[in-house]
């Protein structure tokens, strides 16, 4: 018996639940059902991780429905790294497939489909809520900013006679922009804040939500079209503040540059690239 053959057989068991390939590796045939401890441990670890990574999805669906869907996800997308931190990258897509009735043809799916018909309200906005949960996690675990642009630093630059519009900045690594519908965002906030009613927020027409980390806690708000233009101009690559605000003003000539800049500083959204 080679270790390779043993691990291949064990892997087939873990993926399928059929222990027959493992029979000749076990000393006591009557104990083969005990292999279930390992398979249960695998699924429990993964499903628990998905529960932790998609808490508002679980809250909306209820524990049992969520765990069934999570198990399906594990079947189709088992982890590939030696960690469950960040596991579930494709979970929102699986939710979408499930909502559209595509793929995932198996017994569990059929049971979920029957369940879905009787509890359709549980699935409204679910894909967007999954995207928001995952973006929240990614923002929380993102790299720390190298050098945040602070009020004090800006004051110093101004004292030195530097032109702020020429300052080269970019968004800090925790800032994420996400396209979700406004209703889903409001419901996600409501779930997170334990509010019974869906909050009425001041909706924009951009359908873009920004998430960022401030003092270790993730924040989220919907953006106006002009704010989206501002953030997109600063995302990923560095650019001058002046160019970014021009992008916003092109979409909204009444855009309050001063207020937006102050908000960026207060929320530690910008990091200095160079002067």
């Amino acid at each position: 018996m080679s270790t390779h053959q043993y691990i291949d057989a064990f892997t087939r068991y873990l993926r399928s639940g059929d222990p027959s390939a493992m029979a000749h590796f076990c000393e006591n045939a009557s104990h083969i059902k005990r292999l279930a401890v390992y398979r249960n441990g695998f699924y429990k670890g993964c499903v628990d991780a998905l529960t932790a990574n998609f808490p508002m999805c679980e809250k909306k669906m209820g524990r049992e429905s969520f765990r069934k869907m999570a198990r399906l996800y594990v079947d189709h997308f088992p982890p590939e790294q030696g960690t469950l931190v960040g596991y579930g990258e494709n979970f929102p897509d699986v939710v979408t497939d499930f909502m559209s009735g595509a793929a995932l043809e198996n017994k569990d799916t059929l049971e979920l489909t029957v369940s879905k018909q009787s509890t359709a309200h549980l699935y409204v906005n679910l894909t967007d809520i999954a995207h928001l949960d995952y973006a929240w996690l990614m923002s929380l675990m993102s790299a720390d900013s190298s050098e945040i642009l602070t009020v004090e630093y800006v004051a110093q630059l101004m004292e030195q006679g530097n032109e702020l519009t020429e300052l080269s900045v970019k968004l800090n690594p925790s800032v994420l922009l996400l396209r979700v519908n406004d209703e889903a965002f409001a419901e996600w906030i409501s779930l997170k804040t334990n509010s019974n009613d869906v909050l009425s927020t001041e909706f924009s027409t951009s359908n873009i939500v920004m998430l960022w980390r401030l003092q270790g806690a993730v924040q989220a708000r919907s953006l106006s079209i002009a704010e989206v233009a501002l953030m997109q101009a600063l995302q990923g690559k560095s650019g001058s503040l002046g160019e970014a605000f021009d992008a916003a003003l092109m979409l909204d000539e009444n855009f309050e540059v001063s207020d937006a800049f102050t908000a960026c500083l207060q929320n530690e959204l910008l990091e200095i690239e160079n002067i």
């Binding site: 104990h31 005990r34 441990g41 790294q81 030696g82 469950l84 690594p173």
Partner: protein, 307 residues
């Protein structure tokens, strides 16, 4: 790591200042930071162990709270996703992340498991058993070599919980001791795993312990277990979700008598109680360590008599 064979029991030296430790849980952070660490106290040799892979993050509060704990306490990094027994081609990306954490946090102890968890590019998120064959032994040794080379220091490997027996060429102490001697790693003896294995597969736990050379043992784990929901007491599960059971405490006492003072970790990963409750359990472990030290000072030949 061919050039890093142990010539002296450095695992023991590394941990000799550690007493009884606890699994670090985020919900206990405020309690931990409130402990009076500045003045000598009963907590002075308290330390904390984390699952290394839980800190595979780029930044943010998770690393910050570990930094806050590290300011006052020694740490142990306990890997659960290294898959020493299989899939070694994926090891370097994993150990690169482990090494980055080690470089920053300088843990006193680093450990992994004598198991496999990766195959065909998938990670099975649990500790899968290896058959105790010569072929699997070589695979494990290769994995330990890769891991130790990747992080630049030697590690401890932990005995698994066994739920059934697989075809094997040797018993577990032989398997682990051989792996340690040929790779230069040390051993982490999990007393709860050993107790569970003894009940599930009928091995003699005390005989197992007597086959382990003391100078290979760098750390001891204890934890709670639960009966299998379907099979009851005939199959014990390593749940880490309950208090340490009385027979595990007894086995710990026997292990300390054989191995001498070693860092003892009280593991808890589910049904997490209040911090005070865990500290009380940790104090029991510390009492066993103190008792072990007392016996050592009162009766130097004690170990030899027991052996």
């Amino acid at each position: 790591m061919k050039g890093n064979k142990l010539c002296s029991p450095q695992h023991i030296v590394a941990g000799e200042e550690l007493g009884a430790g606890l699994s670090l849980k985020p919900e206990h952070l405020d309690d931990i930071l409130a402990l009076p660490v500045k003045k000598p106290s009963s907590h002075h040799n308290l330390w904390f162990e984390v699952h290394t892979e839980n800190y595979f993050v780029a930044g943010g509060p998770r690393l910050n709270y570990l930094r806050a704990v590290r300011e006052n306490y020694n740490l142990s990094f306990h890997g659960v996703g290294g898959s020493l027994g299989s899939d070694h081609q994926a090891m370097s990306a994993h150990t690169k992340r482990v090494k980055a954490l080690i470089d920053e946090f300088q843990p006193t102890l680093v450990s992994e498991h004598a198991v496999w968890s990766k195959s065909e590019g998938k990670y099975f998120a649990d500790l899968m058993p290896l058959p105790r064959t010569q072929d699997a032994l070589q695979s494990l040794i290769n994995g330990i070599d890769c891991y130790q080379s990747g992080i630049g220091r030697s590690i401890l490997i932990e005995n698994p919980s066994n739920y059934l027996d697989f075809i094997s060429d040797m018993d577990e102490p032989q398997f682990l001791v051989e792996a340690a001697k040929r790779s230069g790693c040390g051993l982490l003896i999990d007393i709860n795993n050993l107790y569970i294995s003894s009940k599930n597969t009928g091995i003699d736990a005390l005989n197992y312990l007597t086959q382990i050379p003391a100078d290979l043992v760098g750390e001891i784990h204890i934890a709670g277990h639960d009966p299998d929901p379907a099979l009851g007491q005939s199959l014990l599960i390593d749940s880490h979700a309950a208090a340490v059971a009385p027979p595990v405490w007894t086995l710990l006492e026997q292990a300390l008598a054989l191995f001498g003072h070693r860092p003892v970790l009280v593991e808890r990963d589910a049904n997490i109680p209040a911090f005070d409750e865990l500290m009380s359990e940790r104090q029991t472990a510390q009492d066993y360590l103190n008792q072990c030290e007392l016996k050592k000072s009162l009766n130097a030949p004690y170990k030899e008599l027991v052996r």
